[in-house]
């Protein structure tokens, strides 16, 4: 079986986000970009399944600007067998990503497609669900545990839901999106970085896959959340009561 993993290049989660002065988006020039943490978890899970002898190959897919190749290199250094880069000059909305993935699934025929539950840049949380819909595959979203049964060709997924855990059993092929607690991704070791150098990355354009890139969304404005006001230290309880009553009007 082959596992396909989608990995997205995003502004590193530890970077302080800055909005562009013209409010058209966030600043990405000279900003550290890394793999979306949820995608790292997705890749880690695929690698573990492969290491357990339940899959033969892990293919990482990334879409976007030319430097998505860096993210694919990271995937290969973590242990993916090969990469696919669909080059697109502009930002892709989840539906387009799902459509491109569908075409790649048709080419590659994976038994399992694993994605992060969302990307930390746009927080959409849509791609996994959309691709499952387009393919007509069962989906296990927000996975916190994944157990694959090769014999029965099913995968059992624990999902974190509000009241607790929900366990689903999905027939393969299936789509899984990963939650934070699923696993702890590995580091890229030097021997693996070395090996990654000779692993192939195949390139496609959306046209080659017959997917039209368009967006029916228009970003009107991106703004920073309002700044929290600094707190004040009061000198007495009386003063506190006074402020609560006359300024905050809560008592």
């Amino acid at each position: 079986m082959k596992i396909m993993v989608a990995v997205k290049r995003v502004v590193d989660y530890a970077v302080k986000i800055r909005v562009k002065p013209d409010k058209s988006g966030v600043e990405t020039q000279n900003v550290k970009m890394s793999m979306n943490p949820f995608c790292e978890i997705a890749l880690e899970e695929a690698l573990r399944i492969k290491e357990a002898g339940l899959a033969k190959e892990v293919v990482a897919v990334s879409m976007g600007l030319a430097n998505c190749v860096d993210t694919l290199r990271t995937s290969l250094a973590m242990g993916a067998d090969r990469g696919i880069h669909v080059e697109a000059a502009r930002e892709l909305i989840p539906l387009t990503v799902a459509k491109i993935l569908k075409k790649l699934v048709e080419v590659e025929n994976p038994g399992l497609l694993i994605l992060g539950k969302q990307a930390i840049d746009d927080d959409c949380n849509q791609t996994g669900q959309m691709i499952a819909g387009l393919l007509g595959w069962p989906q296990g979203t927000f996975a916190s545990k994944v157990v694959l049964d090769k014999e029965k060709q099913v995968v059992t997924v624990d999902r974190e839901v509000d009241g607790g855990l929900e366990t689903l059993c999905l027939d393969l092929p299936a789509v899984i999106t990963t939650d934070l607690r699923l696993n702890q991704p590995r580091y890229a070791t030097l021997p693996n970085i070395m090996k990654a150098k000779s692993k192939p990355i195949k390139k496609y354009t959306p046209e080659e896959l017959n997917v039209e890139i368009k967006s029916d969304l228009e970003v009107v404005q991106v703004t920073e959340p309002p700044k929290r006001k600094a707190g004040v230290i009061l000198s007495s309880v009386d003063e506190l009561i006074d402020k609560l009553r006359n300024e905050a009007h809560v008592i």
Binding site: D162, Q184, L190
Partner: protein
């Protein structure tokens, strides 16, 4: 609906989760919290009571018990003094509260403890000046204290010295984005300066594990080295000017912002590294380099010390312009960190290695830097200098590798009693001392070696369940003599403080020390500033 709301806050919750997973990576730097989880040491202190407490015997810092006598020429505080200070600073900034005094009387290691009855928190240079003028006229001894993270007993009183902390003077006065020159008050916390500069696109030329608590005034006064010295050089180069208040209250304005100024003796250098013995630093002007966008960090394993050393030589040659830090720790240090610090993960878990080396590069072009670093690492691996390694792929990984190196002092603190030696030695001989000490101490204690490989700075730490004279006798004076024999320095970056005031001759000639004493007498004739520290007690005024 629930679900939707839950996911919309994701970035934030993810961050906090990842942070938690990273564990105390940043908590660690907040020493206020740290205090609560420090192990308490049964630190050995005998009072010789001659009427009142006027002599303290520190048995643990020297093989021969050293008796420190309270200088009888110092006055003791009276109620008039307190009234004067309250009038000058306001009630709020004159602190006599027992609990707060307990904290400021005790050093970071819980090893040194004074019995000061008064903490003063001036808000301006003028107030510092008035305090010192008054103390000088009354012959009241003073200890300047900043973040109290010093490791040589320099920042806490020995007896009843008045503690002066300029922490309330924490304003940034100016920042010039063209030259990168920052002028600020001495009480600014290093980490705050780092984040201020980060927003401006610059970095502080120094960084160290104590950044969340230490103040720039404390850093300057100890001439702190830290993790990036190999790249940016020492504070003697980066501090362009400072303002200091002398013991008699005179304000020395040397707050220049010029890179070049050859007019007479450059007196600011006297205050850089003089550990509060010559004056209180109140303002600092410092040259800060621009922040470069590409940072890479490798965490590597080496089979022996000679490989670490060769790796250093190679790294300097092949990564020269982008190399920003090269640090090492030995297996003993690694074991302590993994055992004592929550949430730390071994980046190379398949087997334990004898040495771990961190190599960081900072540059302006990520793909160029990465390619260069990868090529260097791969060739070092092929050449057998590195036995294994990982390369950070994102900032989270980068912080967790740094956490291991920066967490060594904290892990040692949690492990029990620790004897710390901060030595400058020729790199090729540096680790022989650790091996020698292991032989000398046998089962008595664990010997841990780590430090700033790139600067030839070994942190030799001897960790034991508790302080014990038998251990100390094996360490001192042996360590000092060894260092002297190899023409090293007994204090690379922590200073002399109380711990090593009497050991200065191992690294400085009598003639040099004599000149230092004359300078001390000139600037502080009554010797009220940080007495018993830095200079040998035999010649302290």
């Amino acid at each position: 609906m629930e679900k939707l709301r839950a996911t919309s806050n994701l970035r934030r919750s993810l961050k906090s989760l990842l942070n938690r997973r990273l564990s105390s990576g940043s908590d660690f730097t907040h020493f206020n919290q740290k205090r609560s989880f420090q192990t308490s040491f049964n630190w050995i202190r005998d009072y010789k009571s001659v009427g009142e407490v006027n002599a303290v015997q520190y048995r643990y810092f020297s093989s021969v018990s050293t008796l420190v006598q309270r200088n009888p020429s110092f006055s003791t505080l009276n109620s008039d003094d307190i009234s004067y200070f309250k009038g000058l600073l306001g009630e709020k900034n004159v602190i006599q509260d027992e609990d707060r005094l307990e904290t400021v009387n005790t050093d970071w290691m819980h090893k040194y403890k004074g019995s000061s009855k008064l903490l003063l928190q001036p808000r301006s240079t003028e107030e510092v000046s008035q305090i010192l003028r008054y103390c000088n006229s009354r012959c009241l001894a003073v200890v300047p204290q900043a973040g109290n993270t010093g490791l040589v007993g320099g920042s806490v009183p020995v007896f009843d010295e008045v503690i002066v902390n300029v922490g309330s003077m924490n304003n940034i006065i100016s920042f010039d984005k063209v030259s990168g020159i920052l002028v600020c008050e001495a009480g600014c916390i290093l980490e705050n300066l780092i984040s201020f500069l980060d927003n401006q696109g610059f970095v502080m030329p120094l960084d160290l594990g104590a950044k969340g608590s230490c103040q720039i005034g404390g850093n300057v006064s100890t001439n702190a080295g830290g993790l990036r010295l190999v790249r940016y050089g020492s504070l003697h180069g980066n501090v362009l000017g400072l303002e200091a208040v002398l013991a008699n209250g005179d304000v020395l304005d040397m707050l220049g912002t010029l890179r070049k100024d050859n007019t007479g003796y450059d007196l600011k250098h006297l205050f850089i590294g003089s550990e509060g013995s010559l004056g209180i630093v109140t303002k600092v002007s410092i040259l800060t380099p621009p922040k470069l966008s590409s940072v890479n960090l490798a965490f590597l394993a080496c089979k022996d010390y000679s490989s670490c050393q060769k790796l250093l030589v190679e790294a300097k040659r092949k990564l020269g312009e982008i190399l920003s830090a090269i640090e090492f720790l030995d297996d003993q240090a690694m074991v302590l960190v993994l055992h004592h610090l929550d949430g730390v993960r071994n980046p190379l878990p398949t087997s334990m290695h004898n040495f771990y080396v961190l190599i960081e590069t900072i540059g302006s072009d990520d793909s160029f830097d990465r390619e260069k670093l990868e090529a260097f690492l791969l060739s070092s691996m092929e050449g057998g200098l590195i036995s294994d390694g990982v390369l950070a792929q994102d900032i989270n990984q980068l912080s967790s590798f740094w956490r291991i190196r920066e967490g060594v002092p904290e892990a040692l603190m949690k492990a029990g009693a620790v004897y710390k030696y901060d030595l400058s030695l020729p790199v090729e001989k540096m680790y022989n001392l650790v091996n020698d000490m292991r032989v000398r101490l046998g089962n008595l204690a664990k010997v841990v070696g780590y430090g700033h490989l790139g600067d030839g700075n070994l942190h030799l730490n001897i960790s034991a369940p508790q302080y014990d004279d038998a251990i100390l006798e094996q360490i001192e004076p042996y360590v000092y003599e060894w260092t002297y024999k190899h023409r090293g320095s007994i204090s690379a970056e922590h200073g002399l403080g109380l711990m090593k005031a009497n050991k200065i001759y191992y690294s400085k000639t009598p003639e040099t020390v004599q000149i230092m004493a004359s300078i001390k007498t000139l600037l502080d004739p009554n010797g009220i500033l940080n007495p018993y520290k830095v200079l040998p007690h035999s010649i302290n005024p």
